[in-house]
Amino acid sequence: MKKLINQVDDVVNEMLDGMTAAYPQYVKRLEGLEVLVRAGGSDGKVALISGGGSGHEPAHGGFVGKGMLDAAVAGAVFTSPTPDQVYEAIKAANGGKGVLLVIKNYTGDVMNFEMAADMARDEGIEVEQVVIGDDVAVENSTWTTGRRGIAGTIFIHKLAGACAEAGGGLDDVKRIAEKVIENVRSMGMAVDACTVPAAGKPSFDLTEDEIEIGIGIHGEPGTHREKISTVDEISDKLLGKILDEGIYNSGDEIAVMVNGMGGTPLMELLVANNHISKVLADKGLKVYKTIVGNYMTSLDMEGYSITLLKLDDELKKYLDAPADTPAFVQQ
């Protein structure tokens, strides 16, 4: 394993301190905890909190700031944060108007965040939660733990965050988050695996000409492996599966995210988007906004995911609202 780290056990701690050193105007760290909150606090508004294992940077700490999150809780790499950490984040971010937890659908995340929510409710804090599962690579049935939460989560941060910033109540902010969840779908792939520092070796092995379609953001296996083809052909497959959901129809307005997994150059993401935009136009879908970049990564994994979000006037308003965070700025 070759990585730019010091001690394996110090990675998350040093990453968080590196964040606060770089962006003191946006975030501060709760002392002794793996929690970033807004530098200026969150008084008088509904607080939006997300988090999860580390290794997905800039998610989630990079989205703490005006118009998006109020706090982000970082666990060990690819491991859900513990209930006590989430509980402290809830207490710190609570501005008196209630707290919404944005949880990616993984067994560990849901359990830890739910335990924290129970603890906070016992203290009289109003806490609601939403669980996002946007990854269409996973069969959504009683036979699985449900779809995984991947890059679509960023749209919740943006839109529900804008609603909270505009003074929306907890019910409203939760309703917007749920509306995003209903209308957002994603699918990803990997050209090569990532290496978790503590594990020291790649989380799976692909041969020289092999790719994994439907990969998760923790190196969880996807739907299948196949021989590498052109990025246009790969995008067709990912988009095909997303469009099969039947929620994006000709004439609909959509937002698109082409998200890098961490080890893929922006050049390749833009090459991918060139074709994606044409395919969507051919289907009669109107692309209202496109976001290309590394937003929900998987350490050094090479690959990308495509996310579509169907919009209406209300969602467009919150998508267009300003945001000012370390990883996402919009005037």
């Binding site: 790499v77 830890n112 699985t144 733990t145 503590a198 594990a199 969880e220």
Partner: protein, 206 residues
């Protein structure tokens, strides 16, 4: 002099540390390659937190559970944390336990795991080792067997449970994303749960 419960938890820690890479490798096959790493981090913290002379079994288990809960993360943290905390509740203040006590500890620990994880038998989880182990344990003590004898039988069932997890597909946790591809692999959680029971057995054997 250190207490019996402290010594027992020290042994469990040793087992976890020894099997750290093994558990992580099992998790790499069907999960996210962190089970051994996470459990090892948690038990390191447990040993730091416990007082060697603390003889209150319930208190020590509660502290163990709380520490696991705040240091392990993932799904194992809440599951093992809950299990130890629940087991501790039924023997609060006790410095010795009977075979009936141990049965009750197993029962409430398993109940806690089921409540938190919303899982049943046959979903390729630690319950596939723990549930049959508990059933046999109760059968044996009701038939007059002593704690160690019953636990020996329970460990055999837990081992069979691990083998059983190889034959089924996962429907809970990250392994469920694999569908049929999870068949053929043993469940890391069932493995660590069985290792825990076996360590307690070996400790009681002295």
């Amino acid at each position: 002099m250190s207490s019996r419960i402290y010594d027992c938890i020290v042994k469990i820690n040793e087992t976890i540390q020894t099997n750290k890479d093994f558990l992580t490798d099992l998790d790499r096959e069907i999960g996210d390659a962190d089970h051994g790493v996470n459990m090892a981090r948690g038990f390191n913290a447990v040993i730091e937190k416990l007082n060697a002379d603390d003889a209150d079994i319930g208190g020590a288990l509660k502290k163990t559970g709380m520490t696991l809960l705040s240091t392990v993360g993932g799904a194992s943290g809440p599951l093992y944390g809950t299990a130890y905390m629940e087991a501790g509740k039924v023997v609060q203040g006790k410095t010795e336990i009977t075979k009936e006590d141990f049965g009750e500890m197993l029962r409430v620990a398993i109940e806690g795991i089921q409540k938190r994880g919303k899982a049943e038998k046959g979903e390729k989880t630690m319950l596939d080792s723990l549930l049959p182990a508990y059933d046999v344990y109760m059968e044996k003590i009701n038939g007059g067997e002593d704690l160690l004898g019953a636990l020996e039988a329970a460990c055999e069932e837990a081992e069979k449970g691990i083998e059983y997890t190889k034959t089924i597909r996962a429907t809970k946790g990250r392994a469920s994303y694999l569908g049929d591809r999870s068949i053929g692999h043993q469940d890391p959680g069932a493995t660590s749960a069985t290792l825990t029971l076996e360590t307690i057995r070996d400790f009681l054997k002295g």
